[in-house]
């Protein structure tokens, strides 16, 4: 302790205190304040730059997401349109088919009807011709038969006999 005290010089202590105080003030004013301010500004600048880059990146991502969404929507719409077109085409073919079928069946029906009418007319005509022919034949037969008295009686009798059977 005594040696410590002997080493201690009050003069040097006072000089160091004063000089160091001056040094602190000078350094704070001319060095530390401007240096720390510059460092702080720079660090804040870097932080801002990073933040804005981050923001830009996020915006970019949003934009890309939007693009993707639009693309997806467009794709869905195209699908829908294609599907509709296909449906319409199918329907048109179907309709055409149906119409054709209907037309055809109508035509067939008409044809059948006309065939039927023709047939009926033909049959009627045939009938009338047959009747006429029968009458002619009958006339001729009757004319011949009625020239012979016996044959007339026989005919009448046969006719009468038939009539009873009916």
């Amino acid at each position: 302790m005594e040696q410590l005290l002997e080493n201690f010089s009050l003069d040097l202590f006072v000089k160091q205190t004063v000089l160091f105080l001056i040094l602190i003030f000078i350094m704070v004013k001319f060095a530390w304040k401007p240096i720390l301010k510059a460092l702080n500004d720079r660090e804040e600048g870097i932080k801002d730059a990073i933040d804005s880059a981050e923001k830009a990146k996020r915006e970019m991502q949003n934009l890309q997401a939007d693009n993707q969404k639009l693309l997806n929507e467009a794709r869905v719409e195209r699908e829908a349109m294609l599907k509709e077109a296909r449906d319409i085409k199918n329907k048109m073919i179907e309709d055409a088919k149906d119409e054709a079928k209907a037309e055809a069946s109508k035509l067939i029906a008409q044809a059948q009807a006309s065939i039927e009418t023709e047939k009926k007319a033909a049959i009627a005509e045939l009938k009338s011709q047959v009747a006429n022919l029968s009458i002619d034949i009958a006339e001729k037969v009757v004319r011949e038969e009625l020239s012979n008295k016996d044959k007339q009686i026989k005919l009448v009798e046969s006719m009468l006999g038939e009539a009873t059977l009916n």
Binding site: L12, A31, A38
Partner: protein, 378 residues
Amino acid sequence: MEERKLRLVTKLISALTLTLLVSFSAFAGDAKNNQHNGHEANPVNTSEEVTDYIKHHVKDSHDFHLFDYFSNGEQHSVGFPLPVILWGENGLSMFMSSAFHHDDNGEVIVEKGDSRFVKLHGKIYELNAGEAAVKFDESHHPTNASTPFDLSITKSVFGILLIGLLMFLWFGGLARQYKKNAVPKGFGRVLEPLVIYVRDEIAKPNIGPKYRKFTGYLMTVFFFIWILNLMGLTPFGFNVTGQLAVTAALAIFTLVIYLVSGNAHFWSHQLWMPGVPYLLRPLLAVIELAGTLIIKPFSLMVRLFANITAGHIVVMSLIAIGITMQKQMTPFGSTALSLVLSLFITLIEVLVAFLQAYIFTMLSALFIGMAVEEGEHH
């Protein structure tokens, strides 16, 4: 324009300092007869002389002594004198330390006006009026002299001024660089990470959110101690941070700062510790106050002083092996041993130079941090 002028001034100051150094050492070769201690040539070659030399080096001195050489049995000191400024009985006296002719035993009397000064063991005494020589008591203390207030630019003061100037030039230069661009060039690139290191590793974590107010002090202390520690390892022989007065002043700066900036939370924990029984509180207050007012600054002061002084003594002792062990080991062996050992220790001292600056600054920051810490509100 302003910038250029400032740079010119800076260069001028550097050039002036250099010229002064050179011219001082040039004319300061001072011959002194070395007959009285009986050596033909080598002055420091016994263990006692080595011990004296080391003790002398570790102390502050009034002139800047670089080395001695011998020719024709005369000792020539190479160095330069420093101004002696004294405030004594008759007011201010100023002269160069060369007036004492390297005398340290109170033999050379310097007369300035009505005052007579002698230098005794690194200390300057003013003889009482009418006395012509120093008289001593049994314990070799002067009896007929008073101690004037010594404002001299001693070696330590010279070191402090030099480091102050260097710090101003380096960091002031760095500060000026930032005006032009955000990233410094050249030497500033070395200094900038150091500044950031002190701010981010010492000030911020130990003080907390209020660190900004104290960074100026912490930076100054850190670089002051570190550069002076490193200067102490050069052959110029500075031992500024190994002066008790210097470390005491630094420790008291820290003490004053944390006492002044201590908040209510700090003082309440110092004087009336909450959460302990009332009977214990005065006892705790005594312990806390002893820690805050005495132990903390004392440990700061002694740690730096002892580490640096011990480092100087060890390095010099190991160098002295080259001289004192010559008989046992031959000159070659002792020189080799001292070279290896002192090189090794010097490397460690380079680390210690940083470490002590770091510890002093870190502990100062920690103590300040404890004083400004906001209590948790329960």
